[in-house]
């Protein structure tokens, strides 16, 4: 019984939250990795793109709420999501036209592109703040739980509670749909294949008559969509705060690099490696330990790392990968 209780505690406090967080990171890392493989630079503005997209979704959600439109048990934000994606994708295309296009034309070094993305980051940051401010915002208005603690206890009779929040389920389901759609697009459609070709071998792609402007435009649209979805899911699951999204840049980059930057499968795997390490290392294992070792009460919380250092986990994994396997777990590209 204690063993089952321990497993329930691990599921409740580690596996479920880490899966949801991992899915959010994976979607973010996919955006970073796509930009990297097509435009060949690390996009520092990605966190703020997520914040911007989420900000738009929140505004539209409020609009729907004011009009009395809702999705019943599902959060209204899901209904607002497609509109948020359209606005964010439009902003991405505009930014490319006004900013990035020129640097592609002069074939600027990748590190200059990174610097340019810092400029874009400032502007996006300001736009988001103008739109929605700097405060923490909760915009989840759907049903709170799929399984709550009481139902769980009645269902199983176990003393250890388990809750499954609806945002966690929504995150995972949405992420699966998004990733499936993305992989179908990249693997089966002509445009998707031309993007992979462009990422693989730019010169040969040009020779084959692939239009680089079209490839880049489609990439920005997909990136805008991925950023908005990732940001909205994160915001629904936790809460929205512009600065938190900027800070997500580190775990997202770490996910992309750990998996092998430029490799979409790697980005997803990296997201889960980072999220499980982060949640696992910052979880207080006291409860689990007491279940497993009956006659021992540990003094402390048996927490390996205080939650304040969660970014240290991403960073340490990042550094270890850079030292021992710079191409990542799945072979990424080093341009």
């Amino acid at each position: 019984m204690d063993l089952i209780n321990a497993l329930v505690a691990i599921t409740n406090y580690v596996i479920i939250p880490a899966t949801a967080y991992g899915a959010q990171l994976a979607l973010g890392a996919l955006g970073v990795t796509l930009i990297y493989s097509i435009l060949r630079f690390s996009n520092f503005a990605h966190g703020d793109t997520m914040a911007f997209g989420t900000g738009i979704v929140i505004l539209i959600t409020w609009g729907f709420q004011a009009m009395g439109i809702s999705l019943g048990p599902l959060p209204t934000a899901l209904l607002a999501l497609p509109f948020g994606i359209i606005v964010t994708a439009a902003l991405m295309l505009g930014t490319d036209k006004v900013v990035y296009q020129y640097y592609r034309k002069v074939r600027a070094a990748p590190v200059v592109m990174v610097m340019v993305s810092v400029g874009v980051m400032f502007v996006m940051n300001a736009l988001t703040r103008f739109l929605i401010g700097v405060d923490q915002i909760n915009f989840d208005d759907g049903a709170r739980f799929v399984i709550n603690a009481r139902q769980w206890r009645e269902m199983t009779g176990l003393s250890e509670p388990l809750t499954l929040r609806s945002t966690q389920v929504i995150t995972v389901v949405t992420a699966i749909i998004t990733v499936a759609a993305l992989f179908w697009f990249l693997g089966k459609t002509r445009t998707g294949k031309s993007m992979r070709a462009y990422s693989d071998n730019e010169d040969l792609a040009l020779l084959s008559g692939i239009d680089p402007n079209r490839v880049v435009a489609v990439t920005w649209i997909i990136t805008g969509a991925l950023a908005t979805i990732a940001g909205t899911l994160y915001g629904l699951d936790k809460s929205f705060k512009a600065f938190t999204y900027f800070q997500l840049l580190l775990p997202i980059f770490a996910s992309a690099i750990v998996g092998g930057i430029g490799n979409p499968v790697g980005a997803i795997a990296g997201g889960f490696v980072i999220s499980f390490s982060e949640v696992g290392l910052t979880y207080a294992w006291k409860k689990v330990v007491t279940y497993l070792i009956p006659n021992w009460q540990p003094d402390g919380l048996v927490q390996l790392l205080s939650t304040d250092y969660k970014y240290a986990v991403s960073f340490t994994i990042l550094i270890l990968v850079l030292i021992f396997k710079p191409t990542g777990l799945f072979k990424g590209k080093i341009v």
């Binding site: 992979r196 070709a197 693989d200 010169d203 008559g209």
Partner: protein, 234 residues
């Protein structure tokens, strides 16, 4: 008028000219080979034909049409195919996807062309679900040639197709190239392995310092004692 007529080409990448009044012509279904010492401008001459460097003087016509001002992409649409020396496949895409990308500019159904390519290179059909980057050097070259054939070019240009492959693979590649030429496609090829290449060539060009030095049939060049001594190592 020859099918491809690149006449009096003069130009280079920067200020200094690499090509000096260089002329190349290829007839329909003919194999033409460019040989010469290192730094003779062989690849440059071919790139000039394909529009990858701008000419100061001279002009290029294909099937009687002046294409001197066209970009490489537009020349592909006019019936040219080009196989670069290196980085000539999409390594993380399957063989079949590589061929599909070769046919990117085509709006019609290219299944028949793909079947023809598979007939020409049976090994590719066998490996069509495998990533091109995982194939051997010779097989990769076949993918590269196959990719270029997907646009159904009238003129196929190959930049040192046998660089870095073993002699056996080289012989096989040359056999394939002869087969391609038999289907009526003109071939223009730059080769390091001059002797073997001239053996299959209908026409050979020996370039020295960006200018035509000798031009004759492949057999005649192989028989020429002067050419043998200076360029074929006796």
């Amino acid at each position: 008028m020859s099918y491809l007529n690149a006449s009096e080409m003069t130009g280079g990448y920067g200020k200094a000219d690499i090509l000096h009044s260089c002329t190349l012509t290829v007839e329909k279904g003919e194999i033409a080979v460019i040989v010469g010492p290192n730094g003779a401008g062989k690849s440059t001459a071919m790139k000039a034909v394909f529009g990858m460097l701008s000419l100061r003087e001279g002009k290029v016509t294909l099937d009687g049409v002046d294409i001197t001002g066209l970009s490489p992409q537009d020349r592909v649409k006019k019936g040219m195919g080009f196989v670069p020396q290196v980085n000539n496949v999409f390594p993380t895409m399957t063989v079949e996807e590589n061929l599909e990308m070769g046919a990117f500019i085509r709006d019609d159904d290219f299944a028949g062309t793909m079947e023809q390519v598979y007939e020409l290179f049976p090994i590719l059909k066998e490996k069509r679900r495998q990533n091109a980057g995982e194939l051997s050097g010779g097989q990769r070259q076949q993918v590269a040639v196959g990719r270029a054939l997907m646009t159904q070019p009238k003129l196929l240009m190959l930049d040192e197709p046998t660089a870095g492959v073993s002699p056996i693979v080289m012989d096989e590649l040359f056999d394939r190239i002869i087969e391609v030429a038999r289907t009526g496609i003109s071939i223009l090829m730059v080769e390091q392995n001059a002797r073997q290449a001239l053996e299959i060539a209908d026409k050979g060009y020996v370039l020295v310092q960006g200018a035509n030095k000798y031009t004759d049939t492949g057999q005649a060049l192989l028989a020429d004692p002067e050419v043998r001594r200076t360029f074929l190592g006796g």
